[in-house]
């Protein structure tokens, strides 16, 4: 099975942009168009009324999506409508359970290349086996979400399952910046995942942070809440383009090297 996302992450340092499906602030042609040229992979969040690990920006985004008439159960059906094929569906396993896990994965496979459940290994570890089986059945790439509080032995075990990537949540909640040494944590985790691409996210909002992440060993960075906050203040496409460009440039390291990886 071709692993497109895995290939992207192994060929260059990637910028991954998070959007909430159905949030009118971001889920529109204008914004997606402004982001498309700089974005390597899109992360499509499915709105829910139970945003366990999300900070205020994403919670507000879910609320806007649900208030715009989007049904929580059918949000997944909207995910494929913008043609963002090189994407990850990112949502809580709770949401898939409410839909019916197998049906959910099947729908997600029409929209994206990968489904990532941040709560799978924390709240539903007994479902790991069926997640992998369903990924295989529906041609989805498998990937795992971890935090800096994960057991190291488990991280090593996950890497051995050869996921397309491992996603490290850098903070306790999305969008909330805490004074945690992200470069130290990334370095430690990178040491455990070996050559599996490491994607990092949560509260990333500046080129300086992106450079820190890359220098510490990250292969891809995710930005989500920062975009939502920028657009909440002012829906300025130009500002958004400039912001995303600045993050993209920071993916090449400070010595002016391009983001393309030397193989």
């Amino acid at each position: 099975m071709p692993k497109k996302l895995g290939e992207i992450l192994r060929s260059r340092r990637a910028l991954i942009v998070y959007l909430t499906v159905g949030d009118p602030l971001v889920w529109n042609g204008k914004i997606i168009g402004a982001l498309a040229s700089s974005t390597d992979i899109f992360e499509l969040g499915i709105p829910t009324r139970r945003p366990k690990y999300d900070g205020p920006a994403v919670r507000a985004s879910y609320k806007r999506a649900l208030q715009s008439g989007l049904d929580e159960r059918s949000a997944i059906l909207l995910a494929g409508k913008k043609g963002l094929r090189d994407s990850i569906v990112f949502t809580y396993f709770d949401v898939a359970l409410a839909y019916g896990v197998e049906d959910f994965m099947k729908c997600a496979a029409d929209a994206a290349r990968c489904v990532l459940f941040p709560d799978l290994l924390i709240d539903y570890p007994e479902n790991l086996g069926s997640y992998l089986k369903l990924c295989e059945k529906y041609g989805l790439e498998h990937a795992f979400f971890i935090t800096s509080s994960f057991p190291h032995a488990l991280i090593v075990k996950l890497a051995k399952m050869e996921p397309s990537f491992i996603y490290l949540g850098l903070m306790a909640s999305s969008g909330i910046l805490l004074p945690i040494s992200i470069s130290r944590n990334i370095r430690i985790i990178k040491g455990l995942v070996g050559d599996i691409p490491l994607v990092v996210g949560f509260a990333l909002r500046s080129p300086e942070q992106v450079a820190l992440c890359i220098n510490a060993g990250a292969d891809g960075v995710v930005v989500g809440s920062a975009i939502l906050k920028l657009l909440e203040t002012k829906s300025d496409v130009r500002m958004l383009e400039d912001f995303i460009s600045s993050l993209k440039s920071a993916l090449g390291d400070g010595n002016g090297q391009s983001a393309e990886k030397v193989v």
């Binding site: 935090t147 057991p151 190291h152």
Partner: protein, 421 residues
């Protein structure tokens, strides 16, 4: 004789399953995770979420640890063994030798150090037994910081000498619930003689900090960084046991939030979890029936404090608004077991046991007579279990090695023992 360990041990990377992250409540209110930065010095938040297995102890903290008497002795309880006529070999780690009489200084000192380094002027906290408040007051005196302590009413009245200790160290002590905060005033309206609880006092301390710009909150248990600081106990004990040629068969400690139990046991549990050693070692955590979170609580997400200023952590809890009966072992009244301890209990690595205070005072008296040190009523809970295990060893003719944390002395808690004399 062992040297001071130079690193603390963080059990999080060695846990049998992922530690559930803290959460914000699902309502519309402010983010508790966001305000962590207003509550704690940055270095402590960093330690809370570090992926490191071992964390370097700063030189100034090592100096302070040394000043107050670390490394502490690991003592063979021959008097107790002879009295019980048991083949078991019993060792206790003397955390009572700290100037304030308990293990709490192991974390109050680093918390004060990091606060001072970050330019913070005052640390604010709550205390029930007075042990945590005294330990913080001492640490603030050592690092030249202001200190404000909210003390639960029942303890303030039962333990006047604790208040004097804190005042002598330069701290200000306020009765909780107090008129000083909104949360305090609300509880006082309900009941002007409210005995107070650790949860309410915590909320008062936190509210005070949130309204200030140069004060931060200091916490006595539950948080990962606190339990990590306490592992100085176990890191020393591991070296001391090695020097003695002893392998621990049973490790015991009392549990309020879990800090002294974790302090002693985590470095040993860590080796077991990594498959390096101690495959057959048992770990027993002893709580009070007055707050039976480990044996009868639910493993759910709950706020650390009553008013809900702190994030929700997944813990064995009897509910944050549980008000336990006023018992002398006030240090065991907290409603929950620390998240890392809770996961170890859930996974069957640690076995919990609960006793009522009446059961344990006699154990405390036996220890005083046979070993010469009067235990704090909290510590007597651990001693009760030690005696039970030693008796089983006698019945079975097994010479097991039992190690427990002598978390504190009872010299400022003598009223508790009066009733059994």
């Amino acid at each position: 004789m062992v040297n001071l360990p130079r690193k603390w041990y963080n059990i999080v990377p060695d846990l049998p399953s992922p530690l559930p992250p803290p959460r914000d409540p699902e309502d519309e209110s402010f983010s508790r995770i966001e305000i962590l930065s207003k509550l704690f010095p940055g270095s402590l938040i960093d330690q809370e979420f570090t992926a490191e297995r071992f964390v370097e102890i700063p030189e100034e903290v090592l100096k302070a640890y040394s000043k107050i008497g670390r490394p502490t002795p690991l003592v063979r309880a021959r008097g107790l063994e002879n009295y019980l006529d048991t083949p078991a070999r019993i060792y206790y780690k003397r955390e009572d030798v700290s100037p304030t009489g308990s293990h709490k200084t192991n974390t109050s000192i680093p918390q004060a150090y990091y606060a001072k380094r970050e330019g913070i002027k005052t640390l604010v906290t709550e205390t029930s037994a007075g042990q945590w408040g005294s330990a913080l007051a001492l640490a603030c005196a050592l690092f030249d910081l202001g200190c404000l302590v909210f003390m639960t009413r029942s303890s303030y009245l039962q333990k006047p000498y604790r208040r004097i200790v804190m005042n002598l160290y330069g701290a200000e002590v306020e009765i909780s619930p107090s008129n000083r905060t909104e949360v305090g005033r609300a509880f006082l309206r309900e009941n002007p003689q409210h005995p107070g609880s650790l949860g309410i006092a915590m909320s008062e301390a936190i509210e005070t900090v949130l309204k200030s710009s140069d004060a931060r909150y200091a916490v006595g248990s539950v948080m990962n960084f606190v339990l990590m600081h306490q592992t100085i106990i176990g890191m020393e004990t591991v070296m001391q046991l090695e020097e003695l040629g002893e392998e621990p068969d049973i490790v015991i400690g009392c549990v309020g939030g879990g800090s002294n139990f974790a302090g002693l046991s985590y470095p040993i549990i860590g080796k077991k979890l990594r498959g390096e050693a101690h495959e057959k070692t048992e770990f027993i955590a002893v709580e009070s029936e007055a707050s039976p979170k480990m044996v009868r609580g639910k493993y759910v997400y709950e706020h650390g404090d009553s008013a809900g200023y702190l994030p929700m952590f997944k813990m064995y809890t009897v509910g944050r608004n549980h008000v336990p009966p006023a018992i002398h072992a006030a240090g065991l009244r907290y409603h929950a077991a620390a998240p890392t301890l809770s996961i170890l209990i859930k996974e069957g690595i640690v076995r919990p046991v609960a006793y009522s205070q009446e059961d344990v005072l006699e154990a405390g008296r036996i220890f005083a007579k046979t070993e010469g040190i009067i235990p704090a009523p909290e510590t007597a809970h651990a001693i009760k279990q030690v005696i039970e295990e030693a008796r089983v060893c006698r019945q079975k003719g097994e010479g097991k090695t039992i190690v427990f944390c002598f978390s504190g002395h009872g010299l400022l808690d003598l009223a508790a023992y009066e009733k059994i004399l």
